[in-house]
């Protein structure tokens, strides 16, 4: 590039995010009867290198909300701090040390934030999944998933996978849900154990097919009682097909 083009590019990179640096890959979440489960692996990749291991991509905000991220790790740490401070201010505003932001409130705030940054052409390069239990008009807590992308696209699905998982896993989740409905009836939901089992299978599939995925992952579960990120788990997987699939050098 000519000198003035290099200078211009550097200036632009200093003013807006052009691409992410250390990234997380897929996040998968499913609702079940009485709560939501979410899973993400524990690596931050630098391009295709698995650079930082032992990184948690799930954040427990309060007893009814977990947030998982994919995309730029630094941008997520910024968002994490913003949310933490907002939750803290909320307690002060309500004059109640036990006041908690609901998952819907967090998701709506993040939607407004990410869309605003996208409109300024300086996005926070993340896909965020907010999961939890959300009180309805009667005050009864219902399972909640809210997803926001870096473009500010946001919606409330019953199950979701982000990143490459959106391509690979979402259809498998859909199939499982349909099978469950066909077996047990349209209105029944998965149990907690079924949901967590489904997420473990999903992680295994992601590990096979996504080169940025890693074998160590953690599962988060929110029920009407509490939200918790479970201790990390390691998966091995079945690599037997490697014996037969040798058609490359």
């Amino acid at each position: 590039m000519a000198a003035h083009q290099v200078a211009h590019r550097i200036a632009e990179e200093n003013q807006r995010t052009l691409n992410p640096t250390c990234t997380g890959t897929s996040v998968v979440a499913v609702t079940f009867d009485g709560g939501v489960a979410i899973v993400a692996d524990r690596v931050a990749s630098y391009g295709k290198t698995a650079r930082y291991k032992g990184v948690s991509r799930l954040y427990r905000l309060n007893s009814s909300t977990l947030i998982g991220f994919g995309g730029d790790h630094a941008d997520f740490q910024f968002i994490q701090n913003l949310i933490y401070r907002r939750a803290h201010d909320y307690k002060a505003m309500c004059g109640d040390p036990d006041a908690e932001l609901s998952p819907m409130a967090v998701h709506s705030y993040l939607t407004a934030l990410l869309y605003y940054r996208r409109s300024r052409m300086n996005p926070l390069w993340n896909t965020l999944v907010v999961v939890g239990t959300q009180p309805d008009d009667e005050g009864v807590k219902k399972p909640f998933i809210g997803i926001v992308t870096l473009k500010g696209v946001a919606y409330h699905p019953k199950y979701v996978a982000t990143g490459l998982g959106a391509m690979l896993i979402q259809q498998s989740l859909e199939t499982e849900f349909r099978k469950h409905q066909a077996t047990y009836g349209a209105e029944t939901k998965l149990t907690k154990d079924e949901a967590v089992g489904l997420l473990r299978k999903a992680m295994e599939l992601v590990y096979y097919h996504d080169c940025l995925a890693h074998s160590e992952y953690e599962i988060g579960v929110v029920t009407t009682e509490d939200a918790a990120v479970l201790p990390p788990e390691e998966l091995v997987g079945n690599w037997a097909m490697a014996e037969t699939n040798c058609n490359y050098e």
Partner: protein, 256 residues
């Protein structure tokens, strides 16, 4: 209360430790027509007397819906009251924009208090000459909040402000034990009976001069006017007046 040398600006203290401009503003609130608010464990209700300046005029609107879950009744300078009602409406709607949820009533209280207090501490401003009774329902349950020009913002089980409201407060104190478990309709009856006590003996509550509002569990904020008020008035029609109204101070003027 009479004029003295310490009452020209709100930023001047009197030797007795009073801000006279704030006290005078509270007097303005006391000239407005009465309003009553009561809450139970499930609902909060407001009733208000609407004044008409003369027979040719319509009766003034006293109750404003702020959001699905909260509304306010005003006593005093209605024009000041409208500014505060509009402020609260924008607070409710900007919270809903950010969070897609109803604003907690405590947050509204804090914002209201700051806005009212600012006018009692800056040179050149005057306190709002109006008291508000806010009725709201959030995750903590129903709330009745009373504010006045001194910026004091306080949550209550039941309250009344405006002209001759002491009679209403007497009724409310006497029946306080009945409110917690009352149904919405029973609460409205109590509030109307309390409001009726503020009227001079020869006047009565009519569907033209009375307005009712209710909010609560499963009940979005709803204002009831005109013909819809009549059934409630008929229900209290046979109950005698408990108390003769306390003598009013000051007369009717442009304030409501």
């Amino acid at each position: 209360m009479f004029r003295n040398q310490y009452d020209s600006d709100v930023t001047v203290w009197s030797p007795q430790g009073r801000l006279h401009q704030v006290d005078y503003a509270v007097e303005a609130m006391k000239q407005g027509s009465a309003t009553v608010g009561i809450r139970s464990n499930t609902h909060a209700v407001l009733v208000a007397l609407k004044r008409a300046a003369n027979e040719l005029c319509s009766h003034q609107k006293k109750i404003y819906e702020l959001d699905r879950h909260v509304g306010v009744s005003i006593a005093g300078l209605l024009s000041d009251g409208r500014i505060l009602a509009r402020f609260l409406q924008t607070e409710c709607s900007s919270w809903r924009w950010d969070y897609k949820e109803s604003v907690p009533i405590q947050v509204l209280n804090n914002r209201m208090q700051l806005k009212l207090q600012a006018n009692t501490q800056h040179y050149g401003r005057r306190p709002f000459g109006v008291g508000l009774v806010i009725a709201g329902y959030d995750q903590k349950g129903p709330h009745i909040v009373k504010t006045d020009p001194s910026a004091e913002t306080v949550e209550t089980y039941a309250t009344s402000i405006g002209a001759r409201s002491q009679s209403a407060r007497t009724y409310l104190e006497r029946h306080l034990a009945d409110f917690s478990d009352a149904t919405a309709d029973q609460l409205i009856e109590h509030a109307l009976l309390a409001l009726r006590d503020t009227l001079p003996a020869e006047e009565n509550l009519t569907k033209k001069n009375t307005t009712i509002a209710v909010v609560g569990k499963g009940q979005p904020f709803k204002v009831i006017d005109d013909n819809d008020v009549q059934p409630y008035l008929e229900r209290i029609g046979d109950q005698p007046r408990a108390v003769a109204p306390v003598e009013a101070e000051g007369g009717d003027n442009m304030q409501e």
